[in-house]
């Protein structure tokens, strides 16, 4: 059996670890267009911040490939899949056959076409180690940096370079982190970021770039030395789309992480999958989901029958010491707590917890996550108690006994 994995990040690692549970003999080939040992992409901002190093941000140890008997082809991209011949064509002109193929191609930064963008010399995106390395070189003490996009990527970038740079962040949305926070949460986080020196221009977009300036839609101008485009990312779906595989916003996979094309699986940020908190198909570009989809794909590629049907949007992120934990969807009735700098919102309806936002106190957040993920019926627990204080106390005695092991 020969397994080919396109990609070298969380989904790929998840697949390797799963395949090796079932098949220690089969050949695994990892093909990556990057030149690095597998590393954790979300850590690039921590690298700039000095909270990790290139060595420590490796996602698995140096011996990972040899221990798992993987062949790795770095700095090589896959240009096409030939599904009939069951092989992938490579940028070096060669090809590699596969029995089972995993597409874990991730996503690419979306850079909108803005007039004058070509005039900007120091412009960067921020999703890869190469991006971080280039940005680190470009930003010097006192650099004026304009970041377009006040989402997860833009703001983590801002934090990463904040010690050196004078940062202005622009976003079309009138609030920060609009994809994961509600209005109240956004306000708190924005104020906290402002306290740490980040300036915001919200509700506007860049109409035109000059070499070192941006003209905003409200007619004002922002000068900058360095530009970071962090508007969003797009799943890398082309390889599957080009062979007629089903693609929506991301590559369509089923709960076994199989694509619509025989023997081809997909996992991670390049996919769309079911959000169990809403029942909608969406791209949930998050490392935990990537790993678990990769694991699921790897299990099925190596002969097991494995299902991953518990994906939900979820984020644990922090800025300048303030933690933000969110999961699920923000629909239904709302339980709110807001005191002592902590912010909690729980969204519930139809006897289920749909989602939550915690800012500040993160204690036992996973208990809320499990209610969302497992679609736990709220009338089986003490919901009033758990709203105030997440804990196993809110579950029935029998469930607690099962969880903690006294049921013997």
């Amino acid at each position: 059996m020969k397994y080919v994995i396109i990609g070298n990040s969380a989904a790929a690692v998840g697949a390797v670890e799963a395949i090796r549970q079932n098949d220690t003999e089969g050949k695994i080939l990892i093909i990556s267009d990057e030149s690095y040992h597998t590393y954790s992409r979300p850590l690039i901002s921590y690298l700039l911040l000095g909270k990790t190093t290139r060595e420590k941000m490796k996602y698995r140890s140096d011996s990972f490939y040899s221990e798992n008997n993987c062949e790795v082809m770095l700095s090589t991209s896959v240009t096409a899949i030939d599904k009939d011949a069951k092989c992938v064509l490579l940028s070096n002109g060669e090809s590699e056959s596969y029995d089972k193929l995993l597409v874990a191609t991730g996503s690419s930064p979306f850079v909108p076409p803005v007039n004058g963008l070509d005039k900007v010399e120091k412009k960067f995106t921020f999703i890869s180690l190469d991006d971080a390395n280039a940005l680190e070189k470009a930003v010097t003490e006192g650099s004026k940096v304009l970041i377009v996009g006040a989402g997860l990527i833009g703001l983590k970038c801002a934090e990463g370079i904040s010690a050196k740079a004078d940062i202005t962040c622009v976003d079309l949305s009138d609030r920060v982190l609009s994809s994961i926070l509600d209005d109240g949460g956004s306000e708190i986080v924005k104020a906290h970021l402002e306290d740490n020196g980040i300036k915001f221009r919200l509700g506007v977009q860049v109409s035109e770039f000059g070499k070192n300036s941006a003209l905003l839609s409200d007619g004002t101008k922002v000068e900058f030395d360095v530009l970071v485009m962090a508007v969003g990312v797009r799943p890398n779906t082309a390889l599957v789309k080009n062979i007629g595989g089903e693609v929506g916003r991301g590559i369509v996979i089923n709960e076994r992480c199989a694509t619509s094309v025989e023997d081809i699986y997909a996992a991670g940020d390049c996919c769309e999958s079911m959000d169990v908190s809403t029942g909608e198909k969406k791209v949930m570009a998050l490392l935990p989901n990537a790993y678990m989809q990769g694991e699921c794909a790897g299990m099925n590629m190596s002969g097991a029958d494995f299902v991953f049907d518990k994906a939900i949007p979820m984020n644990a992120i922090g800025f300048f010491g303030k933690h933000i934990i969110t999961a699920g969807s923000y629909t239904g009735e709302v339980y709110t707590e807001c005191e002592d700098g902590n912010y909690k919102k729980l969204f519930y309806g139809d006897n289920k917890l749909n989602g939550f936002i915690l800012i500040g106190n993160a204690e036992k957040a996973g208990i809320y996550t499990s209610l969302v993920r497992e679609r736990t019926k709220l009338d089986t627990i003490d919901f009033e108690l758990i709203c105030e204080k997440p804990g196993l106390m809110a579950f029935s005695k029998d469930v607690r006994a099962e969880k903690l092991g006294s049921a013997q």
Partner: protein
Amino acid sequence: MKRIYVNEKWCLGCHLCEYYCAFASTNQSDMARALCGVKINPKIKIEENDKISFAVSCRHCDEPLCVKGCITGALSRKDGVITIDRDRCIGCYTCILSCPYGAISPSDDGAVQKCELCIKTNGGKPQCVAGCPNGAIVFEERGE
């Protein structure tokens, strides 16, 4: 695989497990001296109300969501024990977001902390179990 099991019927709510846990990582010989005046932040924590109490620590799950979700690779599972490489942890709290038991918590130095069955500190003899005066916390093989 030996695991920690908790029976709330026997828990007195005395919190001694929390003190033994905190003491286990001090590398000192006298508990009173080691913890005097210290606000402890143990890896096992008592949940209690006026009727019941029980201790909660890492269950060392077979399908650990914390390990699978860890963005750095700092959490790993080897020989059934989930451990943390504190040097690699950057304190993002994805594991706290993921753990359905609430058994991972922030530490005092930025990394997260969790029960590692005392394998790094006491030769794999969980001190919460050793210190529980009423047998409410046990460490045993149940052949699961």
